[in-house]
């Protein structure tokens, strides 16, 4: 029985499963991340004992020592999970938030690295999330590395990418071999269709299942108590995805 759901709802449910797959005490979420934020709230509403620190929460913001506090916490190992994306992401999980062409982004300049060159190393783990799944985003080799997917011996590194979730599929990252494998494909996609839209080579081990569709219980939580929590920080997202608007 398939229930009607929006792509963002499938992505939030899929991310929530990846969050709950590993013991997680403390997650930090940035401003431009409504889908990861929804996934975190869903994991909380499903009973995961997770502390959520939303960087851009205006009322009751968790940080009282300025924006450096997030990085200090992460440096100490107090953040288990962070989310990152990229203008480009390659098959070794290198991220490019700088731009294409010669440094510093002579062709197309992206906004910049933000804290990725630190958070990617020092968070317990990172889930990569990028809705657009196309050969221009998922490239063989990024034009500029703002944060590397793996590090050489002698460089302190606490964590790596756990997975890459896109609008078409879920990849698992293997830091030991520096490659992704295909974990599941979303409804309507196949291994071949994903391969055609991916600029990097990835591993396929056996039969690749379909990403499970959201259940009625998951959708009820997302559209109910998760949306309630998100209204202040992500009003546009709540209006677009959950069709819920702030009372005038």
């Amino acid at each position: 029985m398939s229930t009607d759901y929006r792509p963002e709802e499938l992505l939030a449910v899929t991310l929530a499963k990846l969050i709950r797959a590993v013991p997680t005490h403390h997650i930090a979420v940035g401003a431009a991340s409504p889908v990861p934020a929804a996934a975190c709230w869903l994991a909380v509403k499903q009973g995961a004992p997770v502390r959520l620190s939303l960087l851009h929460k205006r009322s009751g913001n968790p940080f009282t020592e300025g924006t450096r506090e997030l990085f200090d916490l992460t440096g100490q190992g107090r953040i288990d999970l962070f989310f990152l994306g990229g203008g480009e992401i390659d098959g070794q999980a290198n991220l490019n938030l700088i731009g294409t062409g010669a440094w510093p982004g002579r062709e197309v300049r992206f906004p910049g690295s933000f804290g990725s060159a630190f958070m990617y190393f020092m968070s317990g783990r990172t889930i990569l999330f990028r809705e657009e799944h196309s050969p221009r985003v998922l490239v063989e080799k990024v034009a500029n590395i703002s944060a590397p997917g793996i590090s050489e011996p002698g460089v302190y590194r606490r964590g790596h990418a756990q997975a890459l979730v896109t609008g078409r599929c879920v990849f698992t990252f293997h830091p030991d071999r520096g490659r992704f494998s295909l974990t599941s494909v979303h409804e309507g996609e196949t291994v071949e269709s994903v391969r055609a839209m991916t600029g990097f080579d990835f591993d396929v081990e056996g039969e690749v299942p379909q990403t499970p569709a959201p259940t009625a219980e998951e959708l009820a939580l997302l559209r109910g108590s998760v949306c309630d929590e998100m209204m202040e920080t992500y009003p546009e997202f709540c209006a677009r995805v959950f069709n819920r608007k702030l009372a005038a």
Binding site: G66, T67, R109, G112, I145
Partner: protein, 273 residues
């Protein structure tokens, strides 16, 4: 300490100064950025602490800026910063990319008066490859670890907007403590505030922890809604409509010039009448 007026404050900023600015979620003084445009500031070197937003984009658009050191330039929900993007393409500004905690660490080294501080991460990023001023050293306590040493960074001037000043020139910024960091690390701090209130915040236990001591403050000026379109603590919110109107207008040189004439020059002339 008595308040000065914002135009004299802008006049005290020399061309070529290295100016530290907080981003749109942390009390930028958009009012002083506009006054710097009116004064015709040139060759400013801007430091985003740790990223850059609206104030940086309008200063670039008005031709006030030679270089930017930052970890990102963005208008948030309104997208890429249009004047930054155009100036970078035209080659009229240079950018030195950093990563957020590196900016904080360089300023914290300056606060402490030490020549450098180490920071983990960064190694293997092309940011490091493009920062000859950042050095990879051996951890002196563990020969098996390589770590980045970042030099202390002393901006010439810290610029931000406080919620209020008291009779002594102490500035209340609440939890936005990065404003304290840039005030501590910079040679001068020029601050705009919503209002001045009687008394001494340092005598009030609830206010003291969110207050920057006047020791660090060179001058302050009253600028009501001086952070606008950025938010000011719990006092007013982010003006998303103002920023998206700007983002649309500033896509072209002419659009930016019209926006600037209306929102930087005419708005001031009306206020002065």
């Amino acid at each position: 300490m008595n308040p000065t007026d914002i135009e004299s404050m802008a006049a005290s900023v020399p061309d070529g100064a290295l100016i530290a600015l907080p981003p749109d979620n942390s009390l930028p003084s958009v009012a002083l950025a506009k006054a710097l445009i009116r004064k015709g500031a040139r060759n400013l070197r801007l430091l985003g602490v740790p990223v850059s937003g609206f104030a940086t984009d309008i200063l670039i658009g008005a031709g006030c800026v030679a270089s930017v050191q930052t970890s990102a330039v963005s208008l948030g929900e309104a997208g890429f910063a249009p004047r930054f993007t155009a100036a970078l393409k035209a080659g009229t500004i240079t950018i030195t990319d950093a990563t957020c905690p590196a900016i904080h660490t360089m300023l914290q080294a300056a606060e402490k008066g030490v020549p450098f501080m180490p920071l983990r991460g960064i190694i293997g990023s092309d940011i490091l490859a493009n920062r000859p001023d950042w050095k990879v050293i051996e951890n002196p306590f563990d020969a098996n670890e390589k770590i980045v040493a970042l030099p202390a960074l002393h901006p010439d001037i810290a610029v931000f907007h406080g919620a209020m000043a008291d009779s002594h020139g102490n500035i209340y910024v609440g939890r936005r403590r990065e404003c304290g960091t840039i005030a501590h690390a910079s040679k001068r701090a020029l601050v705009t505030v919503e209002r001045v209130v009687e008394g001494n915040f340092l005598e009030d236990e609830k206010l003291a922890s969110g207050t920057i001591n006047a020791t660090y403050i060179s001058a302050f000026a009253i600028a009501e809604r001086g952070a606008r379109p950025a938010a000011l603590l719990d006092q007013y919110g982010f003006d998303a409509a103002y920023v998206s109107t700007y983002a649309r207008a500033a896509k072209t040189d002419g659009g930016f010039a019209d926006w600037c004439a209306e929102h930087v020059f005419e708005a001031r002339a009306e206020a002065a009448e």
